[in-house]
């Protein structure tokens, strides 16, 4: 699914200014309240270092509506960003001391390894290959392949709706979602269209050449948001992609700290509020925080 994401960055980059405003000013008061000095961390830990420096660098995406999108005001906004803000608060760092750097999919491991970012929260799927280079806290969200249909369509309820062979679906060339959906199709030649970017799929869906578009729900949410009232997501996601928070390999204390913080966010409503202020604007199914994997 990496390929998908790289291939669609350009498309997604153009996406809505409508969501740019999301999540911006909602948690203003939370930041400095606890005060930097009231936090106590183990000596020599990453937490103490960050708290002392009163600064944290967070890598995120600048082109992922709903999760991390940098709008015209120059501040990234989205669910990933909200999680980052909450973590900074836990570290006793005020919101305005967070520095965001852009981490497109291809460079995320490098950014962590070279210490350019303290943590990376960037629709970052946890997998074993990446675990060889960095460590993951979380997951804090489980994304997955989903189906987008026209808003008035009730005939498609999930990938199984394609098994009858009369529904047509669009995805992007050479992407994992395109391969995955093939297993649900009765006749590939009759049912599958692939373009080079998702925008073309959305056009084909709008004009009725296809009945559905499929890829990661995160990308689809962007299209739903931009084309208000035109599209919707159908059914449930049918693959799992656990999103984690990337940090330097071997920093177990920091990882445990983030994991504990995430569990706290699940419980105290921070998580739910973060979702509702951002991605929840186009997907009202507020996720329950997935179980933390303390590997």
């Amino acid at each position: 699914m990496r390929v998908t994401r790289i291939a669609t960055l350009a498309t997604v980059a153009a996406l809505s200014l409508t969501v740019a405003a999301c999540g911006g000013g909602d948690s203003d008061g939370d930041g400095g309240d606890t005060g930097a000095d009231s936090k106590e961390f183990a000596a020599g830990s990453t937490m103490e270092r960050l708290n002392q420096a009163q600064k944290i660098i967070i890598g995120t995406k600048f082109d992922q509506p709903g999760f991390g999108l940098k709008g015209l005001d120059g501040k990234p906004a989205g669910f990933d960003v909200e999680i980052g803000k909450a973590l900074a608060t836990e570290l006793g760092i005020p919101e305005d001391k967070i520095e965001y750097i852009e981490t497109p999919s291809a460079v995320r491991e490098e950014v962590i390894e070279q210490g350019k970012a303290d943590i990376v929260i960037a629709t970052y799927t946890i997998n074993d290959k990446r675990k060889e280079r960095i460590d993951f806290a979380g997951p804090y969200y489980v994304a997955g392949q989903h189906i987008m249909v026209r808003a008035d369509d009730t005939s498609i309820t999930g990938p199984d709706s394609f098994k009858a062979g009369d529904k047509k679906v669009c995805s992007v060339q050479g992407s994992t979602p395109a391969e995955t959906i093939k297993t649900y199709l009765a006749n590939e030649g009759q049912q599958l269209v692939v373009f080079d970017v998702y925008q073309k799929c959305a056009d084909a869906l709008a004009s009725g050449q296809v009945d559905a578009v499929t890829t990661d729900n995160v990308i689809l949410l962007g299209f739903v948001a931009r084309n208000e009232g035109k599209f919707k997501l159908a059914g449930e996601k049918f693959t799992d992609e656990p999103y984690g928070i990337g940090l330097k390999k071997g920093d177990t204390a920091f990882r445990t700290f983030i994991n504990d913080a995430l569990e706290k966010f699940y419980g105290d409503g921070t998580y739910e509020k973060a979702w509702k202020d951002t991605a929840g604007k186009f997907d009202e199914n507020t996720p329950t925080g997935p179980a933390i994997n303390r590997y």
């Binding site: 060339q173 590939e188 030649g189 269209v193 692939v194 080079d196 073309k200 084909a204 004009s207 050449q209």
Partner: protein, 236 residues
Amino acid sequence: MSVLVEHFDVFVGGFWLTFQLCVLAAIGALILGTIVAVMRISPVPPLRWIGTAYVTVFRNCPLTIVFFFAAFGLPALGSNADFLRIPGLSSIFSRLGIDLPYFRFAIIALSVYTAAFVCEAIRSGINAVPPGQAEAARAIGLTFSQNLRLVVLPQAWKSAIVPLGSVIIAMIKNSALAGFFGLTGDLSNSAQNLTSAGGEPIIPVFIGIGIGYLIMTVPFGLFLDRVERRRAVAAR
């Protein structure tokens, strides 16, 4: 190079679909191109203007633009190119009859674009027919269409064979663009799938795809050489 063996079926499937596309688009381009050529030399000025405008527009537009308007402009106008779902033809070329219109859109884009070049190739052939032929035909009382049908076009075709061949070969190569405008499973689209999602090495895959196109174009070129040689002998 093992990818060529392991995914042989993918290459064959891609080749077959591209081949079908090329045959149908070539037929369309030859018919449409001949019509436009006739319009360009017709005695009726408005027809001449239409013919000239057609050639000017499509010869000078990038094929990508033409493809774009076929794949996204036609649906916007409410057409799925269903007129191409010709019953008999659809049973041979199975992609033609199915609900997904992108195979038909690709045929339209390629035909319409190539027709402009076909028209000019035929016009060059017509220009190569000695004027005395047409004058003699007029002198014995043939109408314009009889003149064209019986005297000029048969001779024009002959001298247009070689330029027409180049035009069709260019069209076969241009057909690779169809894979980027919604046609699933043709040669270029198969290459994309194998390298991106399939994780296959790029170079052997593209060698395989290249071979696929060569299988279509090289024999066609050799055939044209033969035709030309025979024509030269006949003319002597």
